[in-house]
Amino acid sequence: MTSLPDTSGAGQKKLGLVIDLDVCVGCHACAVSCKEWNTGGYSAPLSDERPYGDEPMGAWLNRVHSYQADDGGRTQTVHFPRSCLHCEEPACVTVCPTGASYKRVEDGIVLVNPETCIGCKLCSWACPYGAREYDYDHGVMKKCTLCVDRIYNDNLAPEDQVPACVRACPTSARHFGDLGDPQSDVSKLVAEREGYDLLPEMGYKPVNKYLPPRKRRDDRLEADASRVEEPLAGDGSALERLFAWADAKLSG
């Protein structure tokens, strides 16, 4: 059913990710790990077209952009992973004509049922965040499942019962937890670091939050006159005068 479940109640579980842009180094390990897990998991396959050709293309559920912010004086590079935000008001779900796209009542995860998706692509049009990628080979839409096949999987070691991207991140830039619980670690992190929503004015109410880069100390070097090296004074020899003459001629 693509009508949204009522998830407004107190204590509603809202599983999601918190992405720390301060520590992300843009290594793409999260994206690669996501692809590796999910091409064999719930969304299998995540097909590729021409994987070894000139213009390889394929369905990925996580993409890492790199942006530069320039305030006119100094620039800052920010690596920016982008995946499904598991919105509270996901238009991708309500536009779905078949019910294949749905939001789970129990934890708020937004999923596509690959058995009933007709591949009309309308959900991807409805998503402002580019979270859904069409699988041309499978003929259905693919998206982040928040590794629903890992996080509840008792066959995995406890430390592996998190999304593959979180497990893979070497700098702990990705955090997973219940953002509906104000006492959870992720909620505290968001409160402490002033985590924010992407495109909040669009009203999709993303569950995933981004933590802004910390303010950098202004460490630009002031010009220091004492550090400027004076050219060595010449000795006035004939050879030196020849070089000075040649330099002047060549520079002319």
Binding site: M1, T2, C96, T98, W125, G130, Y134, V140
Partner: protein, 315 residues
């Protein structure tokens, strides 16, 4: 947005088909039709064929066409589902009108009821088609109050050009019909211009800074792409026609879809016999070509907010 040719064929053909269907139903309700015995059956068959062609065409862009039947289930939330349901329901009264016309069934009351139902359902189906686009807040040029009036008027105008043509082929079309078709073309063209003015004049308020949340650190621009060649998002949402081509194509669309058909119908009003019929056929051909250009532009000029992540400054 990438203009899927199956969707262009679908929306233009089914729009014209529903327009013609509604007008034929109106003739039935009013009890006005040409003397020719086969006018109504042939015309209704053409309208139903256009609608059916459009609907079948719309399934060609699906990844899993064999599952298309599932699209009838989510009418509570999805305009695409509503469109599918309404399209199928419309076949009931319209199909009965067709059968009645074939067999010469003549109970005025029942025909009028079927006609009214057909008009209402045809309009509702076209409205649903428009709302599939108009409900998407992610695409500014579609999420616009003029989109639904545009689709409805374009269906009515193209339907009236078709009706004019069919009537001319079966005998002399009444001046009132020709005048009505010209008026519908004028209103539809006016709505199209109003739509273009509205979308051109709208301020683009969404920025790459808001999309990334990095505005406090300065102006944001991409420095490294997330992937080395275009992905689905860039192919589907990144398609965009150059502005100078768009301006030229708009003029071509206005000329072919509205101006030339109106002129041809005006000339047909003032001529008779084969010449009038030929002019009416030319009006249909021009209108169809113009609407394909118009619909292609509707897609190719639409810019999706997700492109903020891929280099657009504002959306």
């Amino acid at each position: 947005m990438h203009p899927a040719y199956s969707v262009i064929v679908f929306t233009t053909a089914s729009g014209a088909g529903y327009g013609l269907l509604a007008l034929l139903a109106l003739l039935t309700v009013l009890g006005v039709e040409p003397q020719a015995r086969w006018f109504m059956p042939v015309s209704l068959a053409l309208a139903l064929a256009l609608v059916t062609t459009g609907l079948l065409s719309s399934t060609f862009h699906l990844g899993r066409p064999e599952r298309a039947w599932r699209a009838f289930s989510q009418w509570r939330s999805s305009w695409l589902s509503r469109e599918g349901v309404l399209a199928v329901v419309t076949f009931a009264p319209a199909g009965l009108l067709f059968l009645a016309s074939v067999f010469g069934y003549g109970s005025a009351g029942i025909l009028a009821a079927l006609g009214v139902a057909t008009i209402g359902l045809a309009a509702a189906t076209v409205y649903s088609t428009a709302m599939i686009y108009a409900s998407l807040t992610t695409i500014r040029t579609w999420h616009n109050a003029w989109v639904a009036p545009n689709y409805l008027m374009l269906a009515l105008a193209s339907g009236s050009v078709l009706l004019m043509c069919l009537w001319s082929l079966f005998g002399a079309a009444p001046d009132l019909l020709a005048t009505g078709a010209i008026a519908a073309l004028a209103v539809a063209g006016g709505f199209k211009i109003a739509y273009w003015r509205a979308v051109d004049g709208e301020e683009k308020t969404r920025t790459v800074e808001a999309a990334t949340g990095l505005g406090e650190f300065g102006a944001v621009r991409p420095i490294d792409p997330p992937h080395t060649s275009a992905n689905y998002i860039m192919k589907e949402m990144g398609y965009h026609v150059a502005r100078r081509h768009a301006a030229k194509l708009r003029r071509i669309a206005l000329l072919l879809a509205f101006a030339l058909p109106a002129l041809a119908i005006l000339l047909a009003m003032n001529s008779a016999g084969p010449l009038a019929a030929a002019l009416s056929v030319a009006a249909v051909a021009s209108c169809a070509a113009g609407l394909v250009v118009e619909r292609w532009l509707f897609f190719a000029q639409a810019r999706h907010v997700v492109m903020l992540y891929y280099g657009d400054k504002v959306a």
